[in-house]
């Protein structure tokens, strides 16, 4: 049963990965965040009429970049991505729920749209309040709320792509 479920999810998300993002003309966010800190988020992902609740933990470093870890309801890591200050994306961990290409193409992009500071015109994100964002692409919608912010420097290992081997 577990295996069937996971395979179904894999197929489902894989199907989404080949769908190109739509043209975008949505309002862009203007939120600003501490350059160093940990931002806890709660999000609901809607895809093909079905919804999944996720937790997001975003570590930010002025010099190291951004590291986002997504977990499902009971804490299992389903996606883990590092975006360096130069924009390079490193998928640190993936899962059957979120495979690497999907994380690189969409999870990292959505993170940059919301937290990137200067989002480009391709960001399909609306800022409903200072802590509430909605990303809407053709085949999925992400409703994201920031629930906790802890300013302060984060461990440097979080921003070291070489740590992937130790995970």
């Amino acid at each position: 049963m577990h295996r069937n479920f996971l395979v179904l999810l894999l197929v489902w998300f894989a199907a989404g990965c080949v769908t190109p993002p739509p043209p975008v003309n949505a309002p862009r966010p203007v939120a600003s965040f501490q350059p160093d800190g940990l931002v806890t988020q709660r999000a609901v992902l809607t895809a093909r009429g079905r919804q999944f609740a996720l937790n997001g933990y975003l570590a930010q470093s002025a010099t190291g970049g951004r590291r986002l870890i997504l977990t499902e309801v009971f804490g299992h890591v389903v996606a883990d991505v590092l975006v360096k200050p130069d924009g390079t994306v490193h998928v640190m961990r993936s899962s059957r729920l979120f495979h690497p290409a999907w994380i690189e193409r969409y999870v990292a992009a959505d993170m940059q749209c919301i937290f990137g500071g200067a989002p480009d015109a391709a960001c399909p994100v609306q800022m409903l309040s200072a802590t509430h964002f909605v990303v809407e692409r053709r085949w999925y919608k992400l409703d994201l709320q920031i629930v906790e912010t802890q300013p302060g420097p984060q461990p440097t290992e979080l921003f070291d792509e070489a740590q992937k081997a130790k995970l």
């Binding site: 295996r3 079905r50 509430h132």
Partner: protein, 224 residues
């Protein structure tokens, strides 16, 4: 020798006898089920700690778990976000609070979530024999009674290496549940304020309009 001395010193300082594996856990599991089955309901408050290697501190959330006979469960996170999971043997529902309003999710693959919720009910009702098809179960006793469940399915084991349920030696309260992952990371759920045999008001497990948790707590005299 030094290591042995340090280990012994640590045990003495801790003051707790080390855990001893039980060769035949069946009598203990039967005792556990007998004691747990005498209660119609249980209420627990919890702190959930997600321990990720790279973070200096565990990521914490708070909430309550309510279980009612025969198989109803309410798992509610109260902070830092608000979310309710409700389940029984037939169905499962999830609510998320957004901008002060509860919204019911159109769950993807609810049968998986329902199964996990039912396993949580079975663990808390001591029905561990019902879990033997999915888990290999062992017991260790000492200052705590620790029931360890190892998934039999290799695919599941690749994500979840074991679940440890830590209880008082007389099974009068659950102290914590630890979900271990192959990477060494884990999720620890620390329980407190466990109350057994409470009478929950109507609507507590309603999957359409669940009664507000503050009203539920006030109704059985556990208001903060």
């Amino acid at each position: 020798m030094v290591a042995l001395t340090m280990a012994l010193a640590a045990v003495v300082m801790a003051g707790d006898p080390p855990l001893r594996p039980v060769a035949d856990p069946r009598p203990i599991l039967q005792d556990l089920q007998r004691k747990m089955s005498s209660f119609d309901s249980v209420y627990l408050e919890f702190t959930q700690e997600r321990d990720l290697k790279l973070f200096a501190e565990p990521l914490r959330s708070e909430g309550v778990m309510l279980i009612g006979r025969p198989d109803q469960i309410r798992w509610e996170t109260t902070g830092p976000f608000q979310s309710i999971l409700l389940g029984d043997h037939q169905s499962v529902a999830q609510f998320e609070r957004t901008d002060g309003v509860w919204k019911k999710l159109k769950l993807g693959f609810p049968q998986m979530l329902r199964r996990v919720m039912q396993q949580m009910v079975q663990m808390n009702q001591g029905k561990l024999d019902a879990l033997t098809s999915d888990y290999t179960i062992s017991v260790a006793t000492g200052s705590l009674a620790v029931v360890t469940l190892v998934p039999k399915d290799e695919t599941v084991r690749a994500m979840l290496s074991s679940i440890e349920v830590k209880m008082l030696p007389d099974f009068s309260a659950t102290r914590e549940v630890v979900m271990n992952e192959p990477s060494g990371e884990f999720t620890r759920i620390i329980f407190r304020r466990e109350m057994r045999g409470v009478k929950f008001p109507p609507g507590t497990f309603d999957q359409t309009t669940p009664r507000d948790i503050a009203a539920v707590k006030a109704d059985f005299g556990n208001a903060p």
